[in-house]
């Protein structure tokens, strides 16, 4: 329960001091707000999950909205002016990666010339694996983690990420992170992580 918010702001102040020339306003992007947002989404697509680095935060569906705001209320760096608000949602209530994800978003946007970035975490609606992108699921499988899959009757339809067999057994309901369970393939015998439906 450390006060990471202060830490983040401190890091950002340092980052700004070290590169003096950062613009204070949102850079003009083709003149329209919509294009500005699209550019921010492109930057966010580069930010990876610290615990499953093969996935980006947009693959996971953690980023719920991006807002470009003319006057940001309580901007982290003080003063008024335009800013960006990125709205994120945690995968699990206790996900320890959230503070780091928030910091990585800020740093990625700073590196790309944006400033006055506010990260807001919302709980509702609750995150679900339904928000994971198809590209994300393919990347997970290639990485050796069985992606979340549901049959129409609500039961899980998971496949061994190595040999594609559906003949698998549960070893433990809980795996190396809150979002995973541990399975073993009955055919190729390989143990593997399964990204739980949530």
């Amino acid at each position: 329960m450390s006060n990471l918010d202060n830490l983040n702001n401190k890091n950002i102040s340092e980052a700004i001091e070290s590169s003096k020339a950062l613009p204070l306003e949102v850079p003009a992007r083709e003149g329209t707000k919509f294009d500005g947002e699209a550019n921010i989404w492109k930057i966010l697509e580069q930010v990876t999950d610290p615990e499953i680095p093969v996935l980006t935060i947009t693959d996971l569906g953690i980023v719920r909205a991006v807002k470009i705001i003319e006057t940001l209320q309580n901007p982290p760096l003080g003063g008024g002016g335009a800013g960006i608000e990125v709205i994120i949602t945690p995968t699990y209530s206790g996900c320890p990666a959230m503070d780091m994800i928030a910091m990585n978003i800020k740093l990625a946007l700073l590196e790309n010339g944006y400033s006055n970035i506010k990260i807001t975490s919302v709980l509702a609606p609750a995150w679900t694996t339904d928000w994971m992108s198809e590209a994300g699921k393919r990347k997970l499988k290639k990485y050796g983690i069985a992606p979340p899959r549901l049959r129409s009757d609500g039961t899980s339809d998971l496949q061994c990420p190595q040999c594609n067999s559906t003949n698998t057994k549960l070893i433990s309901e809980f795996g190396s992170t809150a979002c995973k369970a541990l399975y073993q393939c009955n055919d190729c015998k390989e143990p593997f992580d399964y990204f739980k439906c949530h």
Binding site: Y92, P96, A126, E173, F174
Partner: protein, 294 residues
């Protein structure tokens, strides 16, 4: 016609009242937060000591979920406390005495100050969650009793008029569903396992059953929030009975001469001796090095 009209009005006034009253106050939030924090701390004691690696990971994962839930409740409580201390100028000053019980510190409240700087009598967790881990069976049974309670609790709270409570509960319900499944399976495995595991589960029931009654005794802060935990009792008992039946474990007698006397007090700050030891460990660092951060 007239009857319909008047019942409509009655219904309306009921609605307007119910949309006003059921916001959770600081003490109610602290109760919810303390429950999850203390059980998380107890489960975390297993870290590195679980019977097998996978279950060591499981119990500490549950611990992590519970810490996350307690952070959400503490943050909400801190918001309310700080609002009471310094009401925004545009807002009318709070009509009541600020609800600051359990926040004996200068400056603003935070999730950290609420977890680390309150004393034993200020914690409002129920007695069940502070009980000793005992053996694996006792830890499992405590988790099962509490997860079953939390499941029905969050199921209700996700429809609360208090939007922030509803959001926290809806999120946590997904996690608790998983905890309940996991702990139910373990109760069945141990109860209907070997003679030794069955005996140990009987001993665990003997140890813990007396703390389950308190879960359903309403505290004033729950009633003020428009919530009566007594309404959860039937569903809880149905779930426990179903799992115990499959586990070949007996439900202790509920009434008459053989009924177990139910211990209460935790929700109002009167704890068993266990809590002091937990807080000594939990709060040691912040008490010794105030304000220390990672």
């Amino acid at each position: 016609m007239q009857e319909t009209e008047s019942s409509k009005i009655e219904k309306n006034s009921e609605n307007s009242e119910s949309s006003k009253s059921p916001l959770w106050g600081v003490r109610g939030l602290l109760h919810l937060a303390d429950n999850t924090l203390i059980l998380a701390q107890r489960n975390a004691e297993w870290c590195g000591h679980g019977p097998i690696l996978e279950q060591d990971i499981a119990i500490t994962n549950i611990s992590l979920d519970l810490i996350g839930q307690s952070r959400n409740f503490y943050q909400y409580a801190a918001q309310l406390i700080n609002k009471n201390i310094k009401p925004a100028e545009s807002e009318a000053p709070p009509s009541e005495v600020p609800d600051r019980e359990g926040t004996k510190f200068d400056g603003e409240a935070s999730e950290d100050s609420l977890a680390y700087l309150r004393t034993e009598r200020e914690f409002k967790n129920c007695l069940l969650v502070e009980q000793e881990n005992g053996d694996w069976g006792q830890t499992i049974l405590r988790q099962f009793f509490f997860s079953a309670y939390q499941y029905f609790l969050y199921e209700k709270l996700q429809n609360s008029h208090d939007e922030q409570i509803a959001a926290i509960a809806a999120k946590a319900l997904k996690e608790v569903t998983y905890h309940l499944r996991w702990s139910s399976e373990w109760v069945i495995r141990l109860g209907d396992g070997t003679e030794e595991s069955h005996q140990r589960m009987l001993k665990a029931i003997d140890e813990l059953w007396r703390y389950t009654g308190e879960l359903f005794v309403a505290a004033d802060y729950e009633l003020e929030a428009g919530f009566d935990p007594g309404l959860l009792k039937d569903e809880w008992m149905k779930k426990v009975t179903a799992v115990f039946d499959e586990a070949t474990l007996p439900i202790p007698p509920l009434g008459g001469g053989g009924a177990v006397f139910m211990q209460t007090g935790g929700k109002t700050g009167v704890h068993t001796e266990q809590l002091g030891f937990i807080l000594t460990e939990l709060q040691y660092l912040q008490r010794t090095y105030p304000g220390a951060e990672w």
